[in-house]
């Protein structure tokens, strides 16, 4: 899917630029974006490795395990295929807790770890399992309870009440996550029916 999408994006941009006699800007955009990606990665490497380090301290001391245990009922509901002692449970729980707190940078390494461990169950190696699909969809539905960066931007742009976004954001996040959960459950059901 991504192979086509990526190819489509590049080719459309090039052709569109050529058709509008705009190729110089396209070349400039290409160079700028490539450089921006590297700059972003350099900024990320500091934050990401700091959070990974802090998370490692938390996981070695047993704190994260304790937190993940609290998530157990939610995980049982969302991932019925996952055995009780599956190694992916811990990073999934960590990823969700970090996402809720708005610590995106802490959530990503745990999420990638969870994907790697879920992948080991799959015999068809390039196909996503139910648990992988559900995990990713719920992740994308946004679990964030406190949009810290948005509050910061609002206050920077002279908002009289930057934190006014909290309540509406909570409500909207609830809507998107609920939709995601219902969708995943329906897909699971469909697969279960198809296998019968």
């Amino acid at each position: 899917m991504l192979n086509y999408l990526w190819g489509f994006m590049i080719l459309t941009g090039m052709l569109w630029g050529a058709a509008n006699n705009n190729l110089e800007a396209v070349t400039q955009g290409l160079l700028d974006s490539a450089a921006e990606a590297v700059t972003l990665s350099i900024t990320m490497v500091g934050i990401l490795s700091f959070w990974s380090g802090v998370l490692e301290v938390g996981s070695q001391s047993g704190l994260i395990e304790w937190l993940a245990e609290k998530m157990e009922p939610i995980l049982n509901f969302l991932f019925p295929d996952l055995e009780k002692n599956h190694p992916a449970r811990l990073p999934i729980a960590v990823n969700m807790v970090a996402n809720m707190l708005g610590l995106g940078m802490a959530a990503t390494p745990a999420g990638l770890e969870a994907m790697k461990l879920l992948q080991k169950d799959e015999r068809k190696n390039n196909q996503a399992s139910n648990a992988m699909c559900c995990f990713l969809i719920i992740n994308i539905s946004s679990l964030q309870l406190i949009p810290i960066s948005m509050i910061a931007y609002r206050s920077q742009y002279g908002s009289a009440d930057p934190t006014a976004v909290l309540g509406p954001a909570l409500l909207a996040t609830g809507c998107s996550t609920l939709t995601a959960v219902i969708f995943c459950k329906l897909m699971e059901l469909r697969k279960a029916v198809a296998e019968k």
Binding site: N3, M9, G13, V57, N139, S142, Y153, R154, A172
Partner: protein
């Protein structure tokens, strides 16, 4: 109160984790270094994806294609009661977080962060994720190419978030 919580959240979590580690008699700095090393490896693994995707978006944007697409979509957008400035934001939000933030700040400048438009943009950013970026990073890291129902599910959840943002902000 909530502002205060936002301000202390990160220091609180960091010191809680480190404090807990010290009380559990862990070599906290050694543990930190192990994790930090892993974090650097993760970033390096993501970099090629990031370069590929951001470049593609950059090409699309600089060719003028994204603007034209927004113009085409402005007619169905009025049927859906989607305010015009939110169309490019909704589209870009699917692909790039930093580009979406750029558009949000543009909306803040033009309409003000406390206007319904500014509020809708803020809520939208808080209740959605960068769909294509997430799928490519998460599935790319484990070389999954058959993504099954992830894309429709993710787009549906995002649509729910967008609709909720607009309804809440403009009601």
């Amino acid at each position: 109160m909530i502002q205060w919580i936002s301000r202390i959240l990160v220091p609180l979590i960091v010191s809680y984790i480190i404090g807990f580690g010290i009380l559990s008699r862990r070599p906290v700095f050694d543990d930190f270094l192990t994790g930090a090393k892993e974090g650097i490896r993760t970033t390096v693994n993501i970099l090629p994806t990031l370069v590929g995707l951001m470049t593609a978006v950059g090409v699309l944007r600089s060719s003028g294609f994204l603007d034209t697409l927004s113009n085409w979509l402005s007619v169905p957008a009025t049927w859906l009661h989607l305010p015009a400035p939110l169309i490019p934001l909704t589209l870009i939000r699917l692909i790039s977080n930093s580009a979406a933030i750029g558009l949000v700040l543009d909306i803040f400048t033009r309409y003000g962060p406390d206007s319904p438009m500014g509020m809708a943009a803020s809520v939208m950013m808080s209740s959605t994720e960068t769909v294509f970026y997430c799928i490519s990073v998460y599935f790319g890291s484990v070389h999954v190419t058959k993504t099954r129902y992830v894309l429709p599910g993710a787009l549906l959840a995002t649509a729910a978030g967008v609709v909720a943002s607009i309804v809440i902000a403009f009601l």
